[in-house]
């Protein structure tokens, strides 16, 4: 069950598609599906299809990338890459897939979708996008966003993103997500109309600001620490890996210099000539082999980056808990002080120093009517406060329950095997 809907519009079933075998009620069911849902974050359509209802019904692929030119918000010419998203529904009977939707989206639209999901599902670890700009580059050339290799790796990353959302028991039912796949024009306006930007907690942007929280859920605090450390170690790993790749490139390329000199040397030799010529040729081949090797390694780096971004997403959820808990505690504190004020007014005793108390002393006591009025206001506020506190408490508890379930969904350790295998190729 999702959070108490503040905005009834955003929570809709994707009508034209088949009824989901997916849990439609109760978080308990969703948690229960953990076993079925687990392991879905792997890349590749194959591992996803056989475990999840949703993907049995439809297939999503980001099949192509195209360079486009257009005008941006400031009416300036720009070049960007658009990606083709194709959605297919699979017929039960013969397993054939039929293309139901096909549209083009650019990276910024994916970003918009994700930002929306982050706001509306704060307790969900939202799958990460591939990086916006090429980071941890090992060679100056790779920093180009238009580089075909970069575009290809991004295409794969975007596909994984969509597949992971589609396989998530809660996110898959979001209407905006559905529209992202089906409604090319006007989608941006639709998203913006939800007003999600206003709901976004700006405090989330201040990553390192500390909020003194007295009773956070220890699991979340620990998880936040873990995700911080994981981010730190993976960033370090990626940085060093980039330097390693750079140096390795240098080693191979310098060997290429042998090619020419061996060839020149072979010209003055009789018996040795052929051998030297051949040696020179092989040095050239060796030197050029590094390009493919390092390109393959980029895929490994991409997987590490996925871990990095997932850790970020995880941290965000922990952070939201922290903020929620903070708000809760602040509200409770506020309520307590209001109650006290009310009591003081009612009984006429001033136990604590207050501005009101001072002014009363200086300027004389207020009239009983005024006092009554103030007591009434305070009582109303107290009531409100208590209500708020109750709902916040409820919210907080719901959040913790949902988030924890979702975190469980994400945690699996078998991605590292893929990582290990690709490391072998680098050897």
């Amino acid at each position: 069950m999702e959070q108490a809907p503040r905005d009834p519009e955003r929570q809709l079933q994707p009508a034209p598609l088949e009824p989901l075998g997916c849990p439609d009620a109760g978080l308990g069911a969703a948690v229960g599906k953990e076993a079925a849902g687990a392991g879905e974050e792997d890349s590749g359509v194959d591992t996803m299809t056989h475990n999840n209802f949703w993907l049995k019904k439809i297939e999503i692929s980001v099949s192509e990338a195209e360079k486009r030119t257009g005008r941006n918000a400031m009416n300036m010419q720009e070049t960007y890459t658009a990606y083709l998203i194709e959605t297919r529904s699979v017929e039960h009977t013969d397993g054939q897939s039929v293309l139901t939707d096909s549209l083009w989206r650019r990276y910024s639209e994916f970003e918009l979708l994700r930002n929306y999901l982050l706001v509306y599902y704060p307790h969900i670890v939202v799958p990460p996008l591939p990086e916006k700009r090429a980071e941890f580059v090992w060679h100056k050339l790779s920093a180009d966003n238009m580089d075909p290799d970069f575009v290809e790796r991004r295409r794969i990353g975007l596909e994984n993103f969509l597949l992971r959302i589609a396989s998530h028991p809660i996110l898959c039912r979001d209407k905006i997500f559905y529209l992202f796949l089906t409604q090319e024009g006007n989608w941006k306006e639709t998203v913006n109309e939800t007003g999600f930007q206003l709901k976004a907690d700006s405090r989330l942007k201040a990553l390192n600001a500390t909020f003194r929280v007295k009773n956070p859920d220890k699991r979340f605090t620990d998880l936040k620490h873990y995700s911080d450390e994981l981010q730190s170690v993976i960033s370090h790993l990626l940085r060093v890996r980039a330097r390693v790749a750079d140096r390795l490139y240098g080693v191979y390329k310098v060997h290429g210099n042998y090619g020419r000199v061996f060839s020149e040397w072979s010209a003055i030799e009789k018996e040795m000539g052929d051998g030297l010529q051949s040696a020179g040729h092989h040095m050239d081949v060796y030197a050029s082999s590094i390009d493919d090797i390092l390109e393959d390694e980029e895929h490994y780096a991409d997987q590490l980056k996925e871990y990095l971004f997932y850790a970020e997403a995880l941290r965000a959820v922990c952070r939201k808990h922290e903020l929620m808990q903070y708000d809760l505690e602040m509200a409770a504190q506020d309520l307590a002080s209001k109650k006290q004020q009310c009591e003081e007014l009612a009984t006429g005793t001033v136990r604590t120093f207050s501005l009101k108390g001072m002014t009363t002393k200086l300027f004389g006591q207020e009239t009983p009517e005024q006092r009554e009025a103030r007591i009434k206001v305070l009582e109303e506020q107290i009531n409100e406060g208590e209500q708020q506190l109750k709902s916040k408490n409820l919210e907080g508890r719901e959040f913790v329950k949902n988030a924890w379930a979702d975190i469980k969904l994400c945690s699996h350790a078998d991605q590292y095997v893929q990582k290990g295998n690709s490391s072998l190729d680098q050897c």
């Binding site: 330097r243 080693v251 310098v254 210099n257 061996f262 072998l424």
Partner: protein, 436 residues
């Protein structure tokens, strides 16, 4: 002196103990006198012993220094009928470097062990200690006394103090190998190996006494030496010697380039190594954060560590085995070019004297004796030089074949070590996957 004996055959990398008795049958002779090239890693081996004793054209001398085996060696050699009509009868080894600390200086000496059946040697075996200066002295004497021949190069005399440690194991070992090569090349030479200075170098208990005595020798030889360095200028170098000169110029140039590239590669590899040494441990740090993943991550870290070690071994090998040979051949080329110049001098002198006689317009039926002597000297020089060039070319081919194959082998070994390291953690990762 013209022509000279042919180049000694390669006997292959067999220990003499493994060789069948010469009288056992004709097939055994092939085993002894075959033309097999020794496997490259023998040249690169660092342990002392048989493996070190590869001569430029591939032969090996006697194995150990025990009297029993050397006498059996001599027996075999006396009865042996070599294919080319030549018998290897002189073996020299340079080993056992030792540091000597004296009040005035500290220096290294090397043990020179000689085994020979030649009549020029009083004893069948000698063992003496020599330092670099002595080698340097020997080379100068050879240059003086055998000006028509190509004298092998010595490793560089001067090292920049502070940059290179003259007493480090690596430096001493590199030098020892080069000195050993130097003596073996002389040993292989049909003329140089019979040089009396060489004999004294190998046998004398007190070389310094002989050196002092040698100054007197020098004055007697002074005349002929002066002749060689007379100030005549040659108009044109004959085609074949010009070709040799051009060849040596280009050859040295190319080797110089290869040397620079190799140095650059080593530098890049070292920088790569530095990064690798930081990379591996990060996996360990990560593994400390994890539960189930801890073991595989630690495994990856260890694996990278192994690859780093393998790379370090490769760069050491390249520095110690590959670069010195390149430099040696560059020095060789330089000294050979000087010999070519000396030859030019001799020819120039002859032509000048001949011209002088022609200009005199005397009706002498025969050419004066000193002009004839000049002609003789020139023709001998030419013949010696040509023979030495051919020998040098053969040896050079062998040496470079070994060198380049050795380099290839070292690289292959490096990759094999890395492959092994990564393959060893596959089971660790797979087992984890199956557990899931």
């Amino acid at each position: 002196m013209a022509g000279g004996p042919k180049a000694l055959p390669s006997t292959g990398p067999h220990s003499l103990r493994d060789m069948p008795h010469p009288l056992a049958g004709s097939s055994s002779e092939e085993a002894v006198g075959g033309d097999s090239t020794p496997s490259p890693d023998l040249l690169m081996a660092r342990s002392f012993g048989d493996k070190d004793l590869i001569l430029p054209n591939g032969g090996t001398p006697a194995g150990t220094s025990s009297p029993a085996s050397s006498s059996s060696l001599l027996n075999r050699l006396q009865l042996d009928d070599d294919i080319d009509g030549e018998t290897r009868d002189l073996f020299v080894i340079v080993d056992d470097p030792k540091k000597h600390v004296c009040t005035m200086e500290t220096y290294i000496t090397y043990r020179i062990t000689t085994k020979s059946t030649r009549v020029e040697f009083d004893l069948p075996e000698y063992s003496v200690r020599r330092r670099y200066q002595d080698f340097d002295w020997l080379r100068s004497k050879l240059e003086e006394s055998q000006p028509t021949h190509l004298i092998p190069p010595l490793p560089e005399k001067f090292v920049v103090k502070g940059v290179v440690d003259r007493f480090s194991e690596e430096f001493v070992e590199t030098r020892r190998k080069a000195l050993d090569k130097f003596l073996k090349r002389i040993t292989d030479h049909p003329v140089l190996s019979f040089n009396e200075h060489f004999n004294v170098f190998l046998t004398a208990k007190d070389l310094n006494a002989y050196k002092k005595q040698g100054i007197a020798l020098l004055t007697r030889m002074g005349e002929s030496v002066k002749h060689v360095t007379g100030g005549y200028k040659l108009r044109t170098r004959p085609l074949e010697f010009a070709a040799i000169g051009d060849y040596l110029d280009t050859f040295a140039l190319k080797l110089g380039t290869i040397d620079r590239i190799a140095q650059r590669i080593i530098k890049e590899e070292i920088e790569y190594l530095v990064e690798l040494r930081e990379y591996g441990p990060v996996y360990s740090t990560w593994s400390a954060l994890e539960g189930e993943l801890a073991e595989p991550l630690e495994g990856v870290s260890a694996c990278i560590g192994n690859c780093s070690t393998a790379l370090e071994e490769l760069t050491d090998d390249m520095t110690e085995d590959f670069l010195p040979v390149l430099r040696e051949y560059i020095l060789y080329s330089d000294s050979m070019k000087s010999v070519l110049k000396k030859r030019d001098q001799v020819q120039a002198e002859y032509e000048a004297k001949l011209e002088a006689v022609a200009l005199r317009k005397e009706d002498r039926p025969k050419v004066p004796a000193d002009v004839e002597k000049c002609q003789d000297r020139m023709e001998c020089f030419n013949a010696d030089l040509k023979a030495d060039m051919e020998r040098w070319q053969n040896n050079k081919r062998q040496d470079f074949r070994q060198l380049l194959m050795g380099m290839a082998d070292k690289n292959i070994q490096y990759y094999e070590k890395c492959l092994m390291a990564w393959e060893s953690i596959i089971p660790l990762l797979q087992e984890k996957q199956e557990a899931k």
